[in-house]
């Protein structure tokens, strides 16, 4: 058995930012475990622009953004292991990992930060009928094949789901000479960022069919076509409206799920809504000394917010290791009236200062609303929004003064209010 103060699972932007901030908070006994052959996580395959607008005030590609953090890790000589997969985390914080070099190792950690990202939802989870030939890819796999390996998974593409990866792949495949025939979205609104719909679809005249779904895949050895139909309000397909689109490839961009099997084994309590852990404002889960940040906690659209959240996790993990007392008193944030969730879910009533942002997603598209944070029914923050959509996370950054107020409130509520009222 080996011993470490802080073990970070995952070397994506979340893990890297957490490690950097833990180091800067004084911790030296840190180990990052990463299963891929490089640090950087999902960013390595995101070769498009649009990263870092908030953090660095400039537009970087995914790998460029990752590199800035990798440099910080190397400057600080923080230890990391690549090609190393964590296979178990126990309730008493024993991390088991395997690799070709080290074999199988158990580490007893004082604190653990889960930063292991998320995975794409598969075809089965959305229950599409039909044949099972080649040519059905998750958008992320297609992204890796095109951007990293230099291969085209197909030439005539239909994309199911309007998540960001799907939208970005629509543009990417078009650049590479493929014909993207359509993007099919079940909901009446997109799951992705509006800027991606404009830049990736509209600019290339790729049709986006809202309230439609693929009802059947045709093609025994390879996809030959898909049958697409409109759905009713209950999201059931209306078969009379079905039409066929010939294609050789289907990319699925139907959502991301936090990767929490390991956390579950460690008895971390998960949220039914986010799929990630339920955390307090120090990013700690119900298990003492176990923290989460990044996409494993809840799916982010912008990496900048991942980095900021993860720095909090790193700093608070060090406080925990150093035995800083924490308040046992806590208060749950209520989300009502069109607000689907807020991370963190819980605020500790202690006085330890740390930067705090409330990350909020709404349940539907709403126009002309105010997004409000209320303390004991008094408005603390009210933001006017022309539109809010589930695809765009709202990041409500709080000033230190606002944080102090939050910590003394007896009731915290986040809700949407119609502007007209």
């Amino acid at each position: 058995m080996e011993f470490k103060n802080l073990v970070i699972i995952g070397g994506g932007p979340a893990g890297l930012a957490a490690a950097k901030s833990a180091y800067d908070s004084g911790e030296r006994d840190i180990l990052i475990l990463e299963r891929e052959s490089e640090l950087g996580g999902i960013l390595n395959q995101c070769i498009h622009n649009g990263f870092g607008l908030h953090t660095f005030k400039e537009e970087l590609t995914g790998p460029e953004y990752a590199q800035r953090y990798i440099d910080e890790i190397n400057d600080r000589k923080i230890e990391y292991k690549l090609n190393t997969t964590v296979i178990d985390v126990s309730r008493d914080k024993i991390v088991t990992y395997v690799s070709s070099n080290d074999g199988l190792v158990e580490i007893n950690a004082k604190a653990i930060i889960f930063a292991c990202g998320c995975r794409e939802r598969p075809r089965g989870a959305i229950n599409i009928a039909g044949m099972r030939g080649a040519g059905v890819y998750s958008a992320g796999t297609a992204q890796k094949l095109v951007n990293i390996d230099g291969y085209m998974p197909g030439k005539e593409v239909v994309i199911l789901g309007s998540g960001d990866i799907g939208l970005i792949m629509a543009r990417r495949m078009t650049f590479e000479g493929a014909k993207v025939k359509a993007v099919i979205e079940l909901m009446p609104f997109s799951a992705g960022l509006n800027r991606n719909i404009v830049q990736c679809l509209n600019d290339f005249d790729i049709p986006l069919h809202f309230s439609h779904t693929i009802v059947e895949v045709v093609g025994k050895d390879r996809v030959e076509s898909v049958l697409v139909a409109k759905v009713d309000e209950k999201l059931n397909p209306i078969m009379e409206t079905a039409f066929s689109i010939p294609c050789d490839t289907i990319l699925l961009s139907v959502g991301l799920l936090p990767e929490n099997e390991l956390a579950k084994n460690a008895s971390v309590e998960l949220s039914n809504i986010t799929g990630g852990a339920i955390v307090d404002d120090s990013m700690m889960t119900n298990v003492d000394g176990v923290f989460q940040c990044g996409n494993v906690l809840h799916v982010h659209d912008l990496v900048d917010f991942v980095s900021a959240e993860s720095e909090v996790a790193g700093q608070c993990a060090v406080n925990y290791i150093n035995g800083k007392a924490r308040s046992a008193e806590k208060i749950e944030i209520l989300t009502t009236n069109g607000v689907r969730y807020c991370v963190p879910e819980i605020i500790l009533k202690d006085n330890e200062f740390k930067p705090l942002a409330l990350k909020v997603r709404v349940a539907n598209v709403f126009k002309k609303v105010k997004l409000q944070v209320l303390l004991d029914d008094n408005i603390l923050i009210s933001k006017n929004r022309a539109v809010v959509a589930p695809g765009e996370m709202e990041n409500i950054a709080l000033t230190s003064e606002q944080v102090q107020k939050l910590k003394t409130a007896n009731k915290i509520e986040i809700k949407l209010v119609s502007e007209v009222l």
Binding site: T85, N101, R119, N127, G133, G140, T141, M152, D221
Partner: protein
């Protein structure tokens, strides 16, 4: 020239090949697919049936009972996953109790051991998640579950190791018999000759028979759709749960698989095509609804995939087994359920018949055992450490959901009758069979295939001919 040609490498062809390899005869298996277990054997319920359901006195009843009894020893010898978990036939209505009783009687008549009718309370004790509506059940302790493709692969590997030749991409299209010699012609133009032909062509067994025999057979393809649930819900039930057929229909079964998932299905629809394994939305919905009658807490959110299989339903409603009117031409036709359960007994039966008739000598070098691929996911940590020390590739986890290592994948490609495509690797190792359904490991597995088979990435296929994964390079 060969002594024996077997057409088809499903469970029936492969198990006969293995039983014949106990004798010194030359055997060639001709398979039109590029791998073994690509027909019906790859997609079915995987139930080792108790045998209470088969018509008394039928081949189905006889071979089911005999086959079932062979599984404990076989699964040890050939190292394939098998669990004798017991089955329950659920009766939901007091008025149906009589039908349950007669099923029990039929089972006793067929010679099934350990049958018992139990009360609803007892059922709920055994299966806490089962519907409150269950009135009583027939409990068959000898019922079991098996991984059908792993069983098929195990049989084939063992046959191969004992000298049977397997030829793939050999679709038999013509058979001629001249003076005791069969000339078997394949679609690639090749012709092979043998003294004996055994037809194990599954849903195509009628067509193969009809190439040779006056007495025509007719197989009706009958499709069954399935839904598979995530392992995290693997504790929904431990026994195989059938519904007692009613006027409303047969109902679907709910069963654990040997790897801890839950399987729901099948439907039963006669179809025109013997090859179109297309699931249908309305059928999937009907499975889901019917399964909820058994276990009400089943929900659509638990689904990870759906698939379908095709039954070879023969007009006569029984297995056609043995030598046909054409001498030395053997049929194993219409082998629908319980074909998987019966296969071991069918194989021994056919091998005995042929060895007696042709006075075959024993193959002195026959080895009855076969070693499975060591599965990292199910080892304890000490074993894992040892395994990585021996082969560092066991330290690289490729499929996250099922914890499958590069070592296992390479083994599956390199071993006898090894995997040639993604589906082949999947059936041998489970890489890509988990929750994310190969969302993540696909590209890694493709790289490993390309490296180990020394083919270009563009030649990597999902399931053989015409199923290339990639359609070109980027600009």
């Amino acid at each position: 020239m060969k002594d024996i040609i077997i057409i088809g490498s499903g469970i029936v062809g492969s198990s006969i090949a293995r039983e014949l390899s106990r004798y010194s005869v030359s055997v060639t298996v001709l398979e039109k697919g590029n791998d073994v277990s690509v027909g019906t054997t790859k997609a079915n319920s995987g139930i080792v049936h108790g045998g209470f359901d088969a018509k008394s006195g039928s081949n189905k009843a006889k071979f089911n009972i005999a086959g079932n009894a062979m599984f404990d020893k076989l699964s040890e010898e050939l190292q394939f996953p098998f669990i004798r978990n017991g089955s329950l036939v659920l009766c939901f209505d007091e008025n149906q109790a009589e039908a349950l009783e007669s099923l029990y009687e039929k089972g006793i008549g067929n010679g099934v051991e350990g049958l018992e009718i139990i009360s609803g309370e007892k059922v709920r004790e055994l299966e806490p998640n089962i519907s409150e509506k269950v009135h009583s059940a027939l409990f068959a302790k000898t019922g079991g579950i098996v991984s059908p493709y792993e069983m098929n692969i195990a049989y084939a590997e063992n046959a191969y190791n004992n000298g049977v030749e397997f030829q793939f991409l050999k679709e038999v299209i013509e058979i001629e018999k001249n003076e005791e010699i069969f000339s078997v012609k394949c679609s690639d133009g090749s012709v092979l000759q043998s003294k004996i032909v055994i037809n194990c062509a599954g849903v195509f067994s009628d067509e193969i028979n009809n190439l040779v025999c006056e007495e025509k057979l007719h197989i009706i393809p009958r499709k069954g759709d399935y839904i598979l649930l995530d392992k995290v819900h693997g504790d929904l039930c431990t026994h195989t749960l059938f519904q007692l057929p009613t006027k409303m229909g047969k109902g679907v079964l709910v069963t654990p698989t040997t790897h801890g998932n839950i399987l729901l299905g099948p439907t039963a629809v006669d179809v025109d095509s013997k090859i179109s394994l297309s699931t249908k939305r309305n059928e999937l919905d009907s499975i889901y609804e019917s399964a909820q009658n058994t276990v009400p807490s089943i929900s659509k959110r638990m689904i990870i995939t759906a698939f379908s299989g095709i039954r070879a339903h023969s007009i006569g409603d029984d297995f056609v087994v043995g030598e046909s009117k054409v001498k030395a031409f053997y049929n194993l036709a219409g082998i629908e359920s319980p074909g998987l359960t019966s296969a071991p007994a069918l194989a021994v039966h056919i091998a005995n018949e042929i060895s007696t008739k042709y006075e075959l000598n024993k193959n002195e070098k026959f080895v009855a055992t076969r070693e499975a691929i060591p599965h990292f996911a199910v080892m304890d940590n000490a074993k894992r450490l040892e395994c990585i020390a021996k082969n560092p590739l066991y330290g690289n986890i490729v499929c996250r959901c099922e914890m499958i290592t590069e070592g296992e994948i390479v083994d599956s490609i390199k071993r006898p009758l090894g995997a040639k495509d993604l589906d082949g690797i999947k059936r041998r190792t489970r890489a890509g069979m988990g929750r994310c359904q190969a969302g993540f490991c696909t590209s890694r597995v493709m790289e490993i295939l390309s490296r180990e088979l020394e083919i270009s990435m563009l030649e990597v296929t999902k399931s053989g001919v015409n199923s290339e994964m990639l359609l070109g390079r980027t600009k």
